[in-house]
Symmetry: C2
Subunit: 600 residues, 2 copies
């Protein structure tokens, strides 16, 4: 069987930075050539970054992408890499419209494509067949689907090409790759991280390899892009479902694997809509294979932490910031955010500010100062009483409105410093708070990026404990003060207030939210799961009523099956309430208090 | 030819309010029966409201919709309306999946359906074939497409049924309705308002009627739903493109038309995937037809005003508010918002607050007070100097950061009053400001709803003038002070500041924005249109850099071809800049000043 050295470059490209992305592809192609690769694979739309969203609808953008990949082919040849076959994702234009006529088709016929580069030329292209249009994906909106299969003969091996979603859907390119007698299926991906998705992907790649009857080389993007984090974890799995190579997670890497592959059948039975391009029939002379890397995926919690760090680092970098500012209260959410920021960009680029009021406990102030000392970031205090008093002297506010005022004075101070000093302001709200509206719009929710947006409170604790244990295991001081982790959570907006005055215990709340938000389960199903009807009704009412606040919240990294943001699209103006089974319940008592800022 | 009296009920239903919507359908069906209608048509998904967004993915919701339409059928019969045939839109569940297998298909197989109700039963159902997935629409995400055609025989006339997008796409149900020999094509719609779309729709309905070879009865929803406004404007157009009936815009109405229609061919040549249901073969005895209404559509500007008023009124009502609060500065944007609010919900439900600083000119304060006097809303003043001074004594802010501070003190005051008194806070930013980022996040941009979100500044002036002229023509006092309209616009955040210090004239700015935002045109095309390269570069840079601010902005009514919000989905982290033609230009000078709050 012919041998082939395949290099999978899991690179971190930036949306719209065509020049920088092409430079990155050249650099990683050079490394692949140095490693002796015959075939180098890059992620889905590596040239444009992923996802390009509605930029695909602009002709100038599609033209630039097309030109960039042509230029890249020439530059690789100039670099002396022309003999290596490179497959890279980009955006191109369809030659004909594969959709029925009428309005609303993507203008300019953009397609999500793979280009095969060899000896200075684009020798073949493949357009993605299956366009994901669920969850965070909007590809049916912006792309025209492809309808051809591509098989490229490389050193006597028939290599079929597919892109990401093509692998997730039954039939289609995987099936036809098998029918076409491919010796290898190369799949370019930009598959965002989700908890436990690494297991799902591994199982999927193995199953599809068995279906196709040949190994699959699965190369995935890495890096943060707005609400998505790509985790790498590139794979080669053979038709017997053996993992032949596995890349690291959450970092750029070149994953090189020596594969023995079926020789191309020069007279295949299969004929059909397959585009066949022969680059070289001549197999590589036999050589001694090198062992391929077999990285173990990170365990749960560790992987979430790595995703949050990478997402934050890339958001800062890709938006041209050099530093962040966080309001540290002494509570667990802001402590974890500050610690993540130090891990992401270094404590010297982090400013923590304490904004105490008369309701702030001494232990909170002490914990905030201790956090800063342990992490080593710059720390300043600005008591908010003078500003709050100035408002109250002018505008008569009381109760929840006064609580919101305190939060907004803090938000205004935080944003003032961010503007004055050029920091990115980080929001510290977590997913549980966001779900039930337990935050003040334009108050504690301000910021350009929200690292914990998709992290429920119980996971905030788990991440904090995990981070401290990691430090301890390395003989370092744990960054987060123990009392920050153990004390009962409180917004400290009135004397003696704790979150559990207005919300169920977080273990219960998070379990209900997982059913309702991530699982899209209805009330009846949740009661069948054993949840208390009164608690469920109270929580669902809060979640439904807080949609307007979530709509104005900052982006943050998706780590769950369903994050708030583009992943979950619900109306604000909606009277839908989950139907009650049996007699209608009294209005839940916790609603008005817990929704610190009421809709009406 | 058999006669048929067709009633089109353009009703305003609320998303998720199944009980209220069913009640509304019953009420309008009663009116149709009183008018002697044989066939009553209701809009697309009238039972659930439109658009339901991801509620469609929840089984409990789809089940409730299905049950509601069954109950509705029974209740109409109980009301003695069982003989009238009613066609109404709702959400149902597909019997089989019409999509290829794999992940990401809409869970629970929701379909956008029409039910035909007669004598207490659902006698037929039709599922929409074409699912719009462009612009503001996400239907391919949430629905499974239908693949059957439905023809219902009503009093000897074959009535084909289609839903909204089915009409916009070539071929499909319109084509097959013609082939099936239908005497009438009934199309249920929830087609959102856009400037000039009434002309496009009229042309489309005429063209499709000619293709189908029979009249089309086109019933459209009315009312505001988050960022959409449905304008009604229901139509009957025959195969010769004659308008036989036309309903009013922006109001609920029953549009009744007496039609003479081709008798059903009892042995049609056409056989295929058509579901044929016979309700009655017996034609209606001949009767004297009544004249049908032929409303003229509103002229431009008048229709935009009506859309903004309806959108605002429905947002307030559907979200359970009774009043709004607006910060009135004496400038044109807040004046128009306050005037719209008075038109929408009555001046007695509007509170205007003036938040002057040392930079606020006397003429601005006078204009704000005069506006309140003319409109008759409650007016209060809260000078912001004490709060601003309290901040500056604690946090050293200067320049743009100090300007932003003023705006945020105003935002905090506005939201405090909204929370304290239970008002909906209205944001006053217009589309031009939102485009170039000429606003302060959490400052002048705060609010739960933004009436001018999709209204460019030049149109703000046109609307204000139009509203004043209307008042004058009716012998009323024009609501907006003349000096508010004529003075040069200024944010008044520093002495002598005007918008034109940092932005091109609004006529030029709005023309560029129309090309770039609504037209998705690239730089080269815009230069070919005759725009100055330096101005274009400056504006494009501002627009690209302000995406993060727009992402946290409130919803507001779409009135243009492309609104900010779900209509235009772009990445925040993006290095894409329109390629310059010829030598690269120096960085635009206006960028740092105009973006009152810089990203970095």
């Amino acid at each position: 069987m012919p041998q082939l050295r395949v290099a999978m470059a899991q690179v971190d490209t930036t949306v719209g930075d065509l020049e920088g992305n092409v430079r990155a592809v050249r650099e990683w192609a050079r490394r692949a050539a140095r490693e002796g690769a015959h075939l180098a694979l890059f992620p889905e739309t590596a040239v444009t970054g992923y996802p390009v969203e509605d930029l695909a609808l602009r002709r100038s953008f599609v033209d630039a992408s097309k030109r960039a990949v042509g230029r890249l082919a020439g530059e690789l040849a100039d670099d002396g890499l022309g003999e290596m076959v490179v497959v890279v994702g980009y955006v191109d234009r369809a030659e004909h419209d594969t959709r029925p006529g009428g309005v609303g088709r993507p203008r300019g016929l953009p397609q999500n494509c793979a280009a095969v580069l060899h000896r200075g030329r684009v020798v073949a292209r493949y357009a993605k067949h299956h366009l994901p249009n669920y969850g965070v994906f909007d590809e049916y909106r912006i792309f025209v689907p492809g309808d051809d299969l591509l098989v490229v003969r490389v050193r006597g091996v028939d290599v079929a090409v597919a892109i990401c979603e093509d692998l997730w859907q039954d039939g289609g390119p995987v099936q036809t790759a098998g029918d076409a007698g491919a010796g290898l299926l190369a799949v370019l991906n930009a598959s965002p991280y989700e908890r436990n998705k690494d297991d799902v992907r591994l199982e999927l790649v193995g199953r599809r390899a068995a279906e196709a009857g040949c190994p699959i080389a699965y190369v995935n993007a890495v890096g943060g892009q707005d609400e998505l984090v790509f985790d790498g974890d590139s794979l080669v799995v053979d038709a017997e479902r053996r993992v032949l190579a596995r890349g690291p997670q959450f970092g750029e890497a070149l994953v090189v694997a020596d594969l023995e592959l079926a020789a191309a059948d020069t007279s295949p039975d299969w004929v059909g809509e397959v585009q066949r391009v022969t680059i070289s029939d001549q197999p590589v002379p036999a050589y001694e294979p090198l062992p391929a890397p077999l990285h173990e995926p990170l365990p749960d919690v560790a992987d979430v932490h790595a995703a949050l760090v990478l997402g934050l680092r890339d958001y800062v970098r890709k938006n041209g910031f050099r530093s962040v500012v966080v309001a540290v209260s002494g509570g667990i959410d802001s402590a974890l955010v500050a610690s993540l920021a130090c891990d992401a960009i270094g404590a010297q680029h982090v400013v923590g500010i304490s904004l105490p009021s008369g309701y702030s406990s001494q232990h909170s102030r002490d914990d905030a100062a201790e956090l800063a000392r342990r992490c080593g970031f710059e720390y300043r205090q600005y008591p908010i009483a003078p500003m709050v008093d100035a408002f109250l002297a002018t505008v008569p506010l009381a109760g929840v409105a006064e609580e919101n005022l305190q939060a907004r004075v803090r938000g205004t101070t935080l944003m003032g410093l961010a503007n004055q000093e050029g920091h990115l302001a980080l929001a510290t709200s977590n997913k549980s708070e966001l779900a039930v509206g337990y935050s003040t719009l334009y108050g504690d929710s301000v910021g350009g990026y929200a690292p914990l947006k998709d992290v429920p409170k119980t996971l905030v604790w788990a991440l904090s404990r995990w981070r401290n244990e990691q430090a301890a295991a390395r003989g370092e001081q744990p960054p987060i003060p123990e009392s920050t982790i153990t004390k009962p959570p409180s917004a400290e907006l009135r004397p003696g207030q704790t979150d559990q005055d207005s919300l169920p215990p977080y273990e219960v709340l998070d379990a209900i939210l997982e059913d309702y938000v991530e699982g899209d389960r209805g009330r009846a199903e949740m009661l069948a799961d054993g949840f208390d009807a009164e608690v469920v009704d109270a929580v669902l009412t809060l979640v439904d009523r807080a949609e307007w606040k979530r709509r104005q919240f900052a982006p943050g990294p998706k780590i769950s099956y369903k994050a708030f943001g583009r992943d979950r699209r619900l109306p604000i103006s909606s009277r839908w309430r989950e139907p009650t089974v049996g007699p209608a319940l009294a209005p839940p008592v916790v609603a008005s208090e817990a929704a610190r800022e009421a809709l009406a």
